[in-house]
Structure formats: structure tokens, C-alpha cells
């Protein structure tokens, strides 16, 4: 009797496992054919491991990325930045502006010609000056200020910039800075971590080949993160904008200041000037978004201050001799259609607005004079 029950259980388990496997294959095929998420193997093919930063854009990668809102061709050149051309040798009359940042700079949502970096280059070169400006898009999806500093170190000898613009996304860079603080210290990673990484590399490769596993992995990571947070009282979202932010936001500000100081120092040593650009989150521009988020934060017991994150970053950088550009006023004046609805990144019009405002800033602050 007991054997029969056990056999029945095994039979049921085998059936369920078979159904799971068949559906797995079905979802995998469907996602590969119609899926458009960043988990798509094609999109993931844009990246490769980096021993210092963790990951970076893969030199020579070329993909087509399509979602409901856009379809773009993305090319990564040999230097590992998004560009249709190679960096090449620097001509005597050429001046290079390297714009560092995250996905808001990389801008996979729009064709390369419509990114604000490229539009800025066109605008700077449209005045018949004997100097030729080259604006280099140094944005990498998911980077925070710390990774951007490390990326700058690898780009300085290749790009030889005359001006480095560090673009801070005020929406998440304070949190990102805290999350990557360990990278800033550099040095050897603990041996256990290295061993663990080696053991999981094979698993990661397998996961990377499957869209279903990629998404499941992200869900598990998010759940794990939330589980670990439940030890304390629940925290209202958007802490960077909170009236009473968590202590880590203060740490994030200190790290950002340290990163900018370091960037300035290293850029100066390489003969380049430095500036900082602040990019707002969509809800700072879109009133409906803001109302929804304000209510959500309020329900979670917090208070959302719409421009607090940018103001805090601006404040902490105020006494540094680094000119600062804030894209918020121009984007807010332009209206709500400067961000995509689903992907919350800049639309082509948003890129135009930023390019115009950034050009004005570069000229007004005389950052281009005497380059």
C-alpha cells in the first residue's frame, strides 16, 4: 500500500515536471520570438564581464532592440562605447567631450543619431568653427557613479577627452553609489567570493542563454532583497526624495562627492576639464506620475519631495570647483512627452531638449573656451 502511494506520488511529480518543462520550452520560444525585454539574449549580448567594474559594453557588439515603444539598432565600437564610428586618432583640431552616465546616456531607446550626445555634437559643429567637436557617449546601462569613475579610468587613455561630463541620474544614483561602494575601495576581492564566482560561472552562462531563466533570476533576486529588508520596519520607496531619508542616502551623497572629486583629479591629470550634469526622474517632469508616486509614498508612511534628490546632490557638490548642469528646468518646461511612458527614458524630443540645454550650459559656463 505504502509503495503504491509512493509510486503514485512519483508519477504525479514526474507529470508535473514534464508539464513544467514543456511550458518552459513554450515560453522560451515565445519570448525569443516576441519578447522585447532587456532579458533577451540579444540585449544581454551587449555586455561582457569586466574584472574591475563587473561588466561593461562588449566591444564590437551589434544588436537590434525592439519594444512596443521603439526599435533601435545599437552598435558598440572597439573602445566599448555606443558609437557608429571608432574613436580613432585625435586630429589636431579635434576636441573630445566624454559624457559618462547610465542608461539615460546610453539611450538604447532611440537611434544613435537622435541621442543627446550626438545631437550635441551636431549643434557644436554647426557654427562653422575651425574646431571639430566629438561628443562620445560613455553611458552604460545600470552603471552608478562608482562604476562610471572606474569606466573613466579605462577610457581616459583611449578617448583622450578634453572635457568629461559626469551625468548623474538623480533618481537612483544615490542608492547605486551605496550599492557599489565596495568597488571604490578597489584591491583584491575576498578569496571566498572568487571561489564562489568560479563555481557559479557555469550556472550563470546557462541562465544567460535562456530568457525564461533570466527573468526568473531577476524575480528571485528581487524577492531575496525584499526578504532581507523585512527585518526592520517597511521603508517607503524613493528614499533619495524622502523628507526624512534613510542614513544610506547620506552615505550615497558622500560617495558621489568623492567620485566627482576623484574624476576631476584624474581628468585634470589627463589634461581634461570636468563638469557634472544632473538628469531628473520622469515623475519630476510628469505631474500625473508625481501625483501617483506621492500618494504611494504617502501610503507607505513617507513624504515625497519632488526635487529633493537633485537638490541634495547639488548641495553636496556646491563647494567643488566643478560646473553643474541641471536638465530638470528645460525638461519640465518642455512638457510631459519628453519621457517614454513605459520605459521612463528620454524620447527623441527629450534628447533634443537636453542637447539644446547642455549646449547652452557649455557655452554659458565657458567650458569650451580655450579647449
Amino acid at each position: 500500500m505504502a509503495t503504491e502511494v509512493r509510486r503514485d506520488r512519483l508519477r504525479r511529480l514526474a507529470l508535473f515536471a514534464a508539464i513544467l518543462a514543456v511550458q518552459f520550452a513554450g515560453f522560451e520560444i515565445a519570448l525569443r520570438m516576441w519578447g522585447s525585454s532587456e532579458a533577451a539574449p540579444a540585449f544581454q549580448g551587449l555586455f561582457e564581464n569586466d574584472p574591475v567594474i563587473g561588466y561593461r559594453l562588449k566591444p564590437g557588439a551589434r544588436i537590434r532592440f525592439a519594444t512596443a515603444e521603439f526599435e533601435t539598432e545599437i552598435r558598440i565600437n572597439a573602445a566599448g562605447v555606443r558609437d557608429d564610428e571608432e574613436i580613432g586618432e585625435k586630429a589636431p583640431n579635434e576636441r573630445r567631450i566624454l559624457i559618462l552616465g547610465d542608461s539615460l546616456v546610453l539611450s538604447v531607446q532611440v537611434p544613435f543619431q537622435q541621442t543627446f550626445c550626438e545631437l550635441l555634437e551636431q549643434r557644436l559643429n554647426s557654427r562653422g568653427s575651425p574646431i571639430h567637436y566629438r561628443v562620445i557617449n560613455g553611458g552604460v546601462q545600470g552603471y552608478g557613479p562608482v562604476q562610471e569613475l572606474l569606466f573613466l579610468r579605462s577610457l581616459l587613455p583611449v578617448v583622450k577627452p578634453d572635457l568629461v561630463v559626469e551625468t548623474l541620474f538623480v533618481g537612483n544614483d544615490l542608492e547605486d553609489a551605496v550599492g557599489a561602494a565596495a568597488l571604490l575601495e578597489g584591491g583584491q576581492r575576498p578569496i571566498t567570493e572568487t571561489v564562489r564566482e568560479a563555481m557559479t560561472t557555469r550556472l550563470r552562462r546557462t541562465v544567460r542563454r535562456s530568457m525564461v531563466l533570466q527573468v526568473l533570476r531577476v524575480r528571485v533576486l528581487a524577492a531575496t532583497e525584499r526578504f532581507t529588508r523585512t527585518a526592520g520596519p517597511p521603508e517607503p520607496p524613493l528614499q533619495s526624495y524622502a523628507a526624512k531619508p534613510a542614513p544610506r542616502i547620506g552615505s550615497g551623497l558622500a560617495i558621489i562627492r568623492r567620485v566627482v572629486e576623484q574624476m576631476q583629479e584624474e581628468a585634470r591629470a589627463a589634461g581634461a576639464r570636468t563638469a557634472v550634469a544632473l538628469m531628473p526622474a520622469r515623475f519630476q517632469v510628469n505631474d500625473v506620475d508625481y501625483a501617483n508616486l506621492r500618494d504611494a509614498v504617502s501610503q507607505a508612511g513617507g513624504t515625497l519631495l519632488r526635487d529633493a534628490a537633485g537638490d541634495r546632490i547639488d548641495e553636496v557638490l556646491r563647494d567643488l570647483p566643478v560646473p553643474r548642469f541641471d536638465a530638470l528646468p528645460a525638461l519640465r518646461a518642455a512638457g510631459p512627452d519628453v519621457f517614454f511612458l513605459q520605459t521612463v527614458h528620454l524620447t527623441p524630443r527629450g534628447h533634443q531638449i537636453v542637447a539644446e540645454a547642455l549646449e547652452r550650459f557649455l557655452r554659458d559656463s565657458r567650458l569650451l573656451d580655450g579647449l
Binding site: L15, Y55, A68, R219, A222, P234, N286, D287
Partner: protein, 473 residues
């Protein structure tokens, strides 16, 4: 603390582990402490209101049980109802009336400075005041005896699965289950687990994904064409259903795991053909409450037709206002009342009655289609932020439909994707006329549904903060 939070998962695991090892009376104490903790997790300051409401109605019901004098019984009932309605009125509607007073007197050039205080809305107040009021009214009507056990009564009011969003339970159903020792069957465990999984699917896969479509169309800054307003309204219809029915299913499921049966709150409301049927299938616990404690005491359909229509209108307008303190909810209630009246009046015409309720295939399909769109128009009113928006969006639908402007990629495709699995399961449930048919399907079919529910929720569910994938290999 919401059901779809990991805080709730921890909470429930701990409570459930203790619940399974404790004897009956200790289980009730545990449920009471857990329920108060659950409520205090939202805002502990309002716990006093919940306890106050419990004590007042417990005392009033006991007093009703002790006296036979009709006048005294009426006075006790009025005391209880007065307390509950004053509390509900103050916390839920003070801001609404204050704002409207401000606007009205402001239009006359007068400033009203005494109504500038802002009142916070305690979570679940609309639900638990209705629960306690129904208990006192039932005792007053001698439909049930008052309970002497304060702990049992407090659990009945605060029972965490139904505390903040229903179903609105009657004492005759829940109090008796709390009072009696409970045995949890294997069937309850299986059905409870499925209801929880299905509830999460309805919430995370259906409702939270459709929310972005509805938000896009109902954003006052956008000016969608009529066809896209229609799609956005469909999205909202399934969003609100997925959200609310999902919550109810999780509530029923968690309660089943503890051996306590809650009522079905939604039963294929979008498959019906008349407004009368819609209200028998949508938010059943509220509509039956309104029927038993408002519509019938007003006279129901016992008087003249005009009186019945008046009763229907009053019931539905107050039902609309129950949903929230805003004029759009009043408009929605009025609209639902007028729909009920119109169908009731038209039922006397034979061809209409045959069409709306008859068995013919064409009549069934067309009357369903008409009813579904009438319901959706109600949701357009419900979801709009103002009467002006209702007017503008209605004008878009009726005068600027522009079918060629349909937004296939951003609206139609996701709408179909997020509603089709829900409708397939509901069609199956409707065929068997059983909301719990899935756990009773043949093994292979059942497992296929379980696996698909898992994959769809995990792969396409909207989990909040995990929308973007930052690759970190």
C-alpha cells in the same frame, strides 16, 4: 501590510505555524492578536477606532439581547448606527464635504477657515463599520442572538483576511465558525492554496499590468482617440476586477487554510446580461449588504414602481459614495441606479425581456455585449478624475472614435495578453459553474493550469521595483 508583500508572507507563516498547534480558544486569541497587529502595521493610531467600534457594538448587541422594550431596542440600535455612521462620515467624508463647502462658499466670495483640518482615512473603515452594523441590525431583528464572548466578537470584526478589503461578512456566517472548533480538511488546504495562487495571479499579472495601460489612457495630459479610450476602459475594467477579486481570493484562500470559509465575492461579473445580474455577481458581499440593510428597509420593490425606482437610486448613489468621497463615485452610483431602473422598466416589454434574459444564441451574445459595454462606461465614470474628464472621454468615444488610430502595440496587444488567460480560466469555471473547478480538473489539465499560472505570474507579473533588468554578471 498588503497581501502581495513579503511582510505579509512572514506574518502569515508565523501566525499559521502557531495556529496549527494551538487549541481552539488559543487559536481565537492568536487570531485576535494577529489581526490587531495586521491592522496596526498600517497605522497603529487607528487601532483605537477599531477597538472602540468593537466594544460599542458588542455592548449594544448585549443590551439588545437583554431588553424586550421596542422603544429601548430602537434607541440602542440608533446609538450603534449613530456611532458607526458618525465615525464613517467623519473619517471618510469630512474632507469631501469640507472641500465642497469651501468651493461653494468660495464661489460666493466667502472664506471658510474653520474647515481647513485634513482628516486621514483609516484603512478598512468602510468594511468593518458595515460588518459591525450588520451584526447589531441582525440582533435587533432577532435574526441571531448576541454573542457573550468578547474575544470571538472582536475576532469576527478584526479577522485579518477580510479586515481591510472584505468580503463584508455577516455574523451568522463568520461568528459561528469562530465560535466552533475548526478542522482543516485536505480539500480546504488544496483549495486555499489554489485561491491564494490565483489571487496573486489576478493581482500581479492582470491588475498591476493593466494599471499602466489604464493610467496611460486616463492621464489628463494625453488626449486619446475614442477607440483608445475604449481600450483603456476595457483595461481598467479588468484591472479593477483583477485587483479586487484577487484580494478577495487571497482572503478566501488564507482563511480556508485556517479552516474558516469566507463567501465568494465575485462570480464572473463580466459574463452577465443585465445590471440586476451584474450586482448579484460583482462585490457580492457589498451588494447583498446594501440590499438587506438599505434597499429592503427603504421599502424595496414592495410599493409602487416610482417608489421602487427611488429606492434603487438612493441605494446605488449611497453605494457609489461608499466607494469613495468624490463626485465621480456619486455619478457612478447614479449611473448604476439608472441602469437598474431602465432594465427594470424595459423588462415589461416582451421582446426586450426575451433579448435580455432569453436563451437564443444571438440574444445571449448581443445582450452580453451591450451589458459589458454599459458596465465599462460605468468604469469610465468611476476611473475619471473629474466630471469634465468623463465628458471629454465620452465625447471622444462617441464623436472621435477614429478606429484607424487604434494603438495596437501599446494597448491592444498587452490588453489581450493580460486578460486572455484570466478569461480562459473563468470560461472553464463558468461552464462548470464552480469557482473552484481548477483543483478538480483531471490531473494533467490541472497541473498545466498550475504551471501556466506560475510562469505567467513570474515572467510577466508586475512586481514593482523589478521592472528593469540590470545585468550584473
Amino acid at each position: 501590510m498588503v497581501f502581495n508583500s513579503l511582510q505579509f508572507v512572514w506574518f502569515f507563516l508565523v501566525v499559521y505555524a502557531l495556529y496549527r498547534v494551538l487549541p481552539h480558544r488559543a487559536q481565537n486569541w492568536l487570531l485576535l492578536i494577529a489581526s490587531y497587529y495586521f491592522y496596526a502595521a498600517w497605522d497603529w493610531r487607528f487601532l483605537g477606532l477599531l477597538i472602540g467600534s468593537t466594544l460599542v457594538d458588542y455592548t449594544c448587541a448585549l443590551a439588545l439581547g437583554r431588553t424586550q422594550s421596542p422603544a429601548r431596542r430602537r434607541a440602542i440600535l440608533c446609538l450603534s448606527l449613530g456611532f458607526n455612521l458618525t465615525m464613517l462620515g467623519f473619517f471618510k467624508y469630512f474632507n469631501f464635504f469640507a472641500d465642497n463647502l469651501h468651493a461653494m462658499f468660495g464661489a460666493l466670495g466667502w472664506r471658510l477657515d474653520f474647515v481647513t483640518v485634513r482628516v486621514l482615512l483609516p484603512v478598512g473603515i468602510s468594511f468593518y463599520t458595515f460588518v459591525t452594523m450588520s451584526y447589531v441590525i441582525d440582533v435587533y431583528r432577532r435574526e441571531m442572538p448576541p454573542t457573550r464572548d468578547l474575544v470571538d466578537f472582536a475576532v469576527f470584526v478584526a479577522y485579518f483576511p477580510h479586515l481591510v478589503a472584505g468580503p463584508i461578512l455577516r455574523a451568522s456566517r463568520l461568528l459561528t465558525q469562530i465560535d466552533a472548533p475548526r478542522r482543516i480538511s485536505r480539500e480546504q488546504l488544496r483549495d486555499g492554496a489554489w485561491l491564494i495562487a490565483w489571487g496573486f495571479f489576478q493581482k500581479i499579472f492582470v491588475a498591476d499590468n493593466l494599471a499602466s495601460l489604464a493610467n496611460m489612457v486616463f492621464d489628463p495630459a494625453t488626449h486619446p482617440t475614442g477607440v483608445n479610450v475604449l481600450l483603456g476602459t476595457y483595461a481598467f475594467a479588468f484591472q479593477i476586477y483583477g485587483d479586487f477579486a484577487g484580494y478577495s481570493n487571497i482572503a478566501r484562500g488564507t482563511s480556508k487554510l485556517m479552516g474558516i470559509e469566507l463567501i465568494e465575492n465575485f462570480r464572473f461579473p463580466y459574463f452577465v446580461r443585465t445590471p440586476q445580474a451584474f450586482w448579484r455577481h460583482w462585490h457580492i458581499s457589498l451588494s447583498t449588504w446594501l440590499r438587506d440593510y438599505l434597499y429592503i428597509p427603504l421599502g424595496g420593490s414592495r410599493g409602487s414602481e416610482a417608489r421602487t425606482y427611488r429606492n434603487l437610486l438612493i441605494t446605488m448613489v449611497l453605494g457609489g459614495l461608499w466607494h469613495g468621497a468624490a463626485w465621480t463615485f456619486v455619478m457612478w452610483g447614479l449611473y448604476q441606479g439608472l441602469l437598474l431602473i431602465a432594465y427594470r422598466a424595459a423588462e415589461r416589454v416582451k421582446w426586450f425581456n426575451d433579448w435580455a434574459t432569453g436563451p437564443g444564441m444571438v440574444a445571449r451574445a448581443t445582450s452580453w455585449l451591450v451589458m459589458f459595454h454599459l458596465t465599462c462606461y460605468g468604469w469610465l465614470i468611476f476611473r475619471s478624475r473629474s466630471a469634465e474628464q468623463v465628458g471629454a472621454m465620452s465625447a471622444d468615444v462617441f464623436t472621435a472614435f477614429a478606429p484607424r488610430s487604434i494603438n495596437v502595440q501599446a494597448l491592444l496587444v498587452p490588453l489581450v495578453m493580460y486578460t486572455a488567460p484570466l478569461l480562459v480560466v473563468h470560461a472553464c469555471e463558468a461552464v462548470y459553474d464552480n469557482l473552484l473547478v481548477v483543483p478538480r480538473l483531471p490531473l494533467a489539465v490541472r497541473y498545466s493550469v498550475y504551471a501556466a499560472t506560475f510562469y505567467l505570474t513570474m515572467l510577466f507579473g508586475n512586481f514593482g521595483g523589478a521592472e528593469f533588468i540590470y545585468f550584473q554578471f
